[in-house]
Subunit: 121 residues, 2 copies
């Protein structure tokens, strides 16, 4: 997803694009999904999301944190514990995630079970 678009090229300056920039990417939605029910630690997330590499998890968490959607809390024990939790701003995203979830589910019912586009590709 393109960050830092040239404002001049964005004639509509559409807030939808802002949302997409923040939610976009391969891993962010599932991370947010995993944090919905309370704080989760780094390696716990890694186990909850098979297929993600440490690198991608770190990068995605950093971006979510920079965008203010999640909070990172380091407990200075040994070994260090770091847990990630939804921020209030992240919480405000819930209705959006919910709408997207509903629509995605609906969309699947409306397309042929054999996944039309994947087959075409």
């Amino acid at each position: 997803m393109a960050k830092d678009l040239d404002p001049d090229s964005m004639h509509c300056n559409c807030p939808v694009t802002t949302t997409l920039e923040i939610l976009g990417g391969r891993w962010k939605p599932i991370i947010l999904y995993c944090l919905q029910d309370g704080p989760v630690r780094f390696n716990a997330l890694k186990r909850m999301i098979p297929g993600i590499t440490q690198r991608m998890l770190t990068l995605s968490l950093r971006e979510l944190e920079t965008d203010g959607l999640i909070l990172r809390h380091v407990r200075e024990v040994v070994p260090p514990h770091v847990d990630y939790a939804m921020s209030p701003l992240g919480d405000s995203l819930r209705p959006v995630l919910h709408a997207m979830n509903e629509w995605g589910a609906y969309y699947r019912t409306q397309t042929t079970p054999q996944k039309a586009r994947s087959d075409a590709a």
Copy 2:
């Protein structure tokens, strides 16, 4: 945006991801936005979206069409007219786009006017 993810790698099989695959990309949201108030022709879209190339417009429209969100109608006149309109399925996306629009606007009010992340990058 990654199409055709390996289902095995998607443990949550999250509908949000489906929505993101379909809405994602640089130009799709703005195209949908432009079609909200009725059919628009190819070159009219091009003029409404400064910065888009013909190629990207064509590709984006093709994908939106393949995903069933828009309808392509060729009028066999000379020169040929092609207009693009929201399909019923595309219409069903409106609440989602609306939620994303609201949140994107809200998000902008919650972050420093100087665009924290762009500056950090």
